[in-house]
Subunit: 339 residues, 2 copies
DNA sequence: CTGAAAGCGCTTACAG
DNA sequence: CTGAAAGCGCTTACAG
């Protein structure tokens, strides 16, 4: 398996042929006499030679690299979609360069620059709070970019998303259908167009469509993490009267809220119903199991990759506009009709 | 910031200097007249030129790439340690090529080959069920490899781990100290030296040291995942008498077991105590919160990266043998003294 | 079928 | 301080 510093010339000399010939057997070309091919192959195996992808990339003008910006690797939603993306990427002989930004926009900008220097063939971004610097940068970039699960404003690239507005609307309607009127909302960041703003407006619209007054005290915004859901729920438990149902725009926040309720000796769903958003694996890990508005995570990851590949190869099938996937309400045990 | 296909020659021509000079300002060398430097820099900015990392890698013989093999991106333990690793890697101007193998050893072998072709400077492996092909491959490889959280047999590389045997011993002893004697064990794969075998033997030793008989019915092996913990617990609930405490060698399996107990209308910890292993974020997400033998995940990730970097640069501080980190028992709410 | 030579986009002695 | 030229490890016309 051997020495990495071996080069094609070493193989050629040892086999007594030209580097051209070695290159040809390396690339499985025909027009090499079987006898020679066998001899060269033997030397390659003996030496443990493997060709330098770096050198190949340079001459082929193709790196087989895809860069991805992940907001938070430890989140159940992102780790799951990353897993689906990695799978699709590797099935297509591409490799994934991963950058976890954790709210650090400087790091994001730095990595986008690195991706450019690395000559990645495509970039996947799962984050929508783009600052001006980054927005400008990607808009001028001539590498295909695709957004997955988010859809920021003012940029020229395609997103693979669900209709977050409708999904939030449907979620809220579900709670209303169960007879709830005091429905709290644990939201994201309003600067996030899809996961912040659209879900919030979907919630509002469902309330007003049903003639339910919007109560400011029942509306809080956080950062999608468990801790944040916990804290916001704690604040809302102090409201008089307290809400009978809670819609959290991420499963992580929903679980945080659920734990908070539990820690205050109240019961889900008897005292308060809770519904999450994402349909991550967390929903089935907790008790009661969490009802959730499910994003088709696996499909979303896969679609992201295949669309990006189409974009890279400039295929006619390459998407020209946002791809909207179906959301599904998955009912488990965390919601109950208001008696 | 422009066209990726730009090359240094384009900048040189536009600025009316040689490529050498452009290269020099790119690399921040002195010995370029300020005036020239400014002019060249302006052209670089105007054009949005950024140098090809590929070409640089080839001449510098340095890729700044680290490859990592992750068993399962969706596991709470691995996603957390990956996050720590990514952080340390990027702080040191390296980039992470991620491969998620999901029990697919063919994919692992394929990726190790890709890592070699990519000329990554170092490889991190978080998986210990190496088959012969892979063991041979890495042993002949002249790229530094480091194992993180695992320590497979028959290979020449260093591991960053805890003392899993002692940790499992201590965990079991804790349950014994609470008065339990019917202590079930939900284990991993015995072919996994650290997480399978060592933890199992630590459990056995604690029992025998305390004169507690080993009951075969209380011992099961799974794959570290929640689902597996659930199924194994279900089997064991059928035992007569059933265990009063359970030690699961991953938090994921512990949560699975906990859910199973819950779904059978039994209570944790009143009816059965449960303790997990890893100290992942899951422990605080569930109710009751899960007591767990904690691995210092963040430290482990960081130590892995810095040790690997020392190895890469062949520093005197580079580790020559396994690095054993401290484990800590973290007591939460899932265990109770046997009355 | 085989090989010599040019070229991918950079950096780095070397010379001036 | 500046530039021409060689070289990093490959592939690919081109010629034979």
């Amino acid at each position: 398996m051997g020495y990495v510093k071996l080069k094609i010339k070493d193989v050629a000399e040892k086999a007594g042929v030209s580097v051209t010939t070695v290159s040809r057997v390396l690339n499985g070309e025909k027009y090499v006499k079987d006898e020679l091919k066998a001899k060269v192959q033997r030397v390659i195996d003996d030496l443990g030679y493997s060709p330098s992808h770096i050198a190949r990339s340079l001459v082929r003008q193709k790196t087989n690299l895809i860069g991805i910006i992940v907001p938070d690797l430890t989140s159940s939603f992102y780790s799951t979609i990353l897993s689906s993306i990695e799978e699709a990427v590797s099935l297509n002989q591409y490799n994934l360069l991963v950058c976890n930004i954790n709210e650090d926009t400087d790091k994001e900008y730095k990595y986008l620059n690195i991706f450019k220097e690395m000559r990645v063939e495509g970039i996947i971004i799962m984050h929508e709070k783009l600052n001006d610097e980054i927005r400008q940068f990607i808009n001028k970039l001539d590498i295909p970019v695709i957004f997955s699960s988010v859809c920021p404003e003012d940029q020229k690239f395609v997103s693979v998303i669900i209709d977050d507005y409708s999904a939030a609307y449907d979620t809220t309607n579900y709670l209303i259908g169960l007879g709830h009127e005091r429905i709290a909302f644990i939201g994201g960041d309003l600067r996030d167009v899809t996961s912040g703003k659209n879900r919030y407006f979907g919630y509002l619209k469902a309330l007003t469509d049903n003639g339910i007054p919007v109560v400011e005290d029942y509306i809080r915004f956080g950062n999608y993490k468990t801790q944040s859901g916990y804290m916001l729920m704690k604040e809302m438990l102090a409201s008089e009267p307290r809400p009978t149902a809670v819609f959290a725009v991420s499963d992580d926040m929903a679980v945080g809220a659920m734990n908070c309720i539990h820690d205050h000796k109240l019961n889900v769903p008897d005292d308060i119903s809770i519904i999450g958003f994402d349909g991550s694996q967390l929903t089935e890990l907790v008790r009661p199991q969490l009802s959730s508005m499910e994003q088709p995570i696996h499909e979303m990851g896969k679609t992201t990759v295949y669309s990006l590949l189409d974009l890279i190869m400039d295929k006619p099938s390459a998407p020209k506009e946002d791809i909207i996937l179906q959301h599904h309400l998955v009912i488990r045990d965390s919601c109950k009709a208001r008696s």
